[in-house]
């Protein structure tokens, strides 16, 4: 539904998601919106205007730059540089073999070790990755899903060996397998046993690692795969609802685990639609938690989120333009009240970022934080006729989408029938056709095109990182106690066959220096692997 005033011929004005927008909005467009019911003040239900009464006055967002490449030594060096440059949290990017639960010496890992993230095969690698970094003093985000529990087990053992109590650990495990089936496709097991691994982390952390964010329910990858803003919002929030339902079904009280759930959204290019998306997300979550699940704890109702600027919006052409795109996208996330933010580097349509490019990306956040003044007021765009209409419309669309998915029996059945996958593929193709026909203009691509001049310096990962990782892994396999490894893996298989929580079993295996691949294989033996039917 389009409100706002339009005159004939105005209908070609659409957001990047294809939403038609009016020429001008007024109080007439907000007649169905009630301030107390639909917005609330900052820090008040339903948190549309933000979860904190004081916004960024009390605390800025965490500037969390996602990084990882090559070997654990190389990435450790980058982490120390990021912390020294004023970064306030770490975020680990793992390589594809690790993300898929394969060791560097597996045949499918050839050519991929250390390429788009850091290779972590065993506890030895995790110890090196965090060498010289106080795990009790930083917050650490780990972007891993299929083998999330295995990697988290290793992190906990590193803390244990350093004498850092688990109750002091703070950070986030992405652990969002549903969006892997929907968008990013880094799954291992079929959906249902995968959901058990997730709820095992919920209950383990509720008891043992209480400050840890057990999941980052992610719209980022859904959007990168081509969804609209509206689909990103609806599918992500409905994924969140699915996790809560599974948690409750596994016997947990909603208020014991929901406060530690967090979210992760894309900060794309359509400025106001993005801000509206974050505001709508908070209201949708607060209502869903209270009305569907009867949550009472305020922290269960508050949607906290990380944002990352849109990788997919970066262009290989005129790469310095990406600095400007990223700054504007980051500004939308800040105006939308993000708790944590990653800004992409200018060279990421070409390769992983160089250190110079990564530093410039961090500086972009620091300029927004310290020079623009946008952090001084809470929700400064609240009350804008246009923004409030967009926020309300996005909420209504998401509610309608929830109803469709509820009717399918929830997100797991919807995924099994390929529903969100097909919706996203359609949107991706529509967008590409709009770019092709120049209905949608992208500077440097189909507008203001210029001949390439010079080359951009890039980070080139050669095969030597893989060779060093293979040597390290061989050394670990030689030095550990093979009988102990075999015993912990046998216990893991037995536990998975029954109803035991898998976390303590994985921690035992990590202590014995079992590898990510070995732990994942033990569970593959029990649960099998997921094979998707591709939807074009």
């Amino acid at each position: 539904m389009t409100r706002g005033v339009n005159v004939p011929g105005d209908h070609s004005f659409t957001t990047i998601s294809g939403r038609t927008v009016g020429r001008v909005y007024s109080a007439d467009d907000l007649q169905d919106i009630d301030y107390a019911r639909d917005l609330g003040g900052p820090g008040e239900f339903p948190y549309t205007r933000g979860i904190h009464r004081s916004g960024y006055r009390g605390k800025l967002w965490t500037m969390r730059q996602f990084a990882g490449f090559g070997t654990p030594e190389e990435t450790n060096t980058r982490y120390r540089a990021l912390l020294a440059a004023g970064g306030t949290g770490l975020s680990v990017a793992f390589d594809l073999p690790t993300l898929m639960g394969r060791d560097p010496d597996h045949e499918l890992s050839q050519g991929e070790v250390g390429k788009c993230g850091v290779s972590v095969a065993s506890l030895a690698d995790m110890e090196t990755l965090f060498e010289g970094i106080d795990l009790g003093a930083i917050t650490c985000s780990m972007t891993i899903n299929g083998p999330a529990s295995m990697i988290f087990a290793m992190y906990l053992v590193v803390a244990e060996k350093r004498g850092v109590d688990w109750t002091r650990l703070s950070g986030t495990l992405q652990n969002d397998i549903l969006k892997e089936f929907i968008a990013q496709k880094e799954y291992i097991y079929p959906p249902r046993p995968s959901m058990r691994l997730v709820t095992d982390v919920f209950s383990f952390c509720a008891e043992r690692v209480p400050r840890w964010n057990t999941i980052s329910v992610s719209g980022y990858h859904i959007r990168e795969a081509g969804s609209t803003a509206s689909q990103e919002l609806a599918f992500t929030l409905r994924d969140g609802i699915e996790y809560v339902q599974y948690g409750i079904d596994s016997g947990l009280d909603v208020d014991t685990f929901a406060p530690r759930m967090s979210f992760f959204f894309n900060a794309h290019s359509d400025f106001f639609e993005e801000i509206a998306k974050y505001r709508a997300a908070r209201a949708l979550w607060a209502h869903a938690m209270r009305e569907r699940f009867g949550a009472r704890e305020p922290r269960s109702l508050m949607l906290r989120f990380h944002a990352q600027t849109a990788g997919v919006s970066l262009t290989a052409q005129q790469p310095y333009n990406n600095v400007v795109r990223t700054a504007l996208q980051a500004l939308s996330a800040v105006l939308g009240g993000a708790q944590s933010l990653h800004t992409n580097s200018l060279d990421e349509a070409l390769s992983l970022p160089t250190e110079e490019a990564a530093t410039l990306a961090l500086r972009t956040q620091q300029i927004i934080a310290h020079e623009t003044g946008v952090v001084d007021e809470v929700d400064p765009l609240g009350g804008s006729y246009f923004l409030e209409r967009l926020t309300a419309d996005l909420r209504e669309e998401a509610e309608a989408s929830f109803a469709v998915i509820d009717a399918m029996g929830g997100m797991v059945p919807a995924i099994e029938r390929g529903y969100p996958q097909a919706e996203i593929a359609d949107s991706a193709y529509r967008f590409q056709r709009e770019v092709e026909s120049r209905e949608r203009r992208i500077v440097g691509v189909n507008e203001a095109v210029s001949e390439a001049t010079g080359t951009t310096p890039i980070l080139y990962i050669d095969e030597s990182a893989a060779e060093r990782q293979l040597a390290r892994l061989a050394e670990v396999r030689k030095r550990r106690n093979p009988a102990l490894v075999a015993r912990t893996l046998d216990r893991l298989r037995e536990g998975a066959l029954g109803a035991a929580n898998t976390m303590p079993l994985l921690i035992d295996a990590a202590r014995a220096y079992a590898t990510v691949g070995e732990m994942c294989d033990a569970l593959r033996d029990v649960w099998g692997e997921y094979v998707e039917t591709p939807v074009i």
Binding site: L96, L99, G111, V312, A349, S351, Q432, V435, I536
Partner: protein, 141 residues
């Protein structure tokens, strides 16, 4: 012109390696299909062996590889080598994804002329395939 075969250009769109980012592969698959080509999408995580076997079985004219993980210099030479072994060196192989500039001449040297970076238009890829397909002649003047 050698043999004029009255069938559309047949393309294998493949995702080799561990990378699951399939947006580009799926968009291109649809674009080629809308341009009148026959498209077989292999799905994710195909080995070079599986891709070349699919090309042989499907009598493909073109293989389009989508690689965003940085493993292209490992995968592409292997695909080209296997095509040669199978006597399929006339199959046009193109690749799209996150490819550093320095690798483009190396890929060209393997005989992979079509290297498409982010921002390449679908029409450009369609035109490239139409003008470079060697096995198929009815759309080529």
């Amino acid at each position: 012109m050698e043999t004029a075969r009255p069938r559309p250009i047949r393309v294998i769109v493949a995702k080799p390696g561990l990378d699951g980012h399939d947006r580009g592969a799926k968009v291109i698959a649809r674009a080629l299909r809308d341009a009148g080509m026959e498209v077989i999408y292999t799905g994710l995580r195909q080995t070079p062996e599986q891709i070349v076997t699919a090309a042989l079985q499907e009598d493909a004219d073109v293989i389009g590889l989508s690689i965003l993980s940085g493993a292209h210099m490992h995968i592409c030479p292997r695909v080209v080598e296997l095509l040669k072994q199978q006597g399929l060196d006339d199959v046009l192989t193109v690749v799209g994804g996150i490819i550093p500039d320095v690798d483009i001449p190396r890929l060209n040297a393997l005989g992979i002329e079509g290297v498409f970076l982010p921002g390449t238009s679908m029409q450009h890829i369609v035109d490239f395939i139409r003008t470079h397909t060697r096995r198929h002649v009815d759309t080529v003047e």
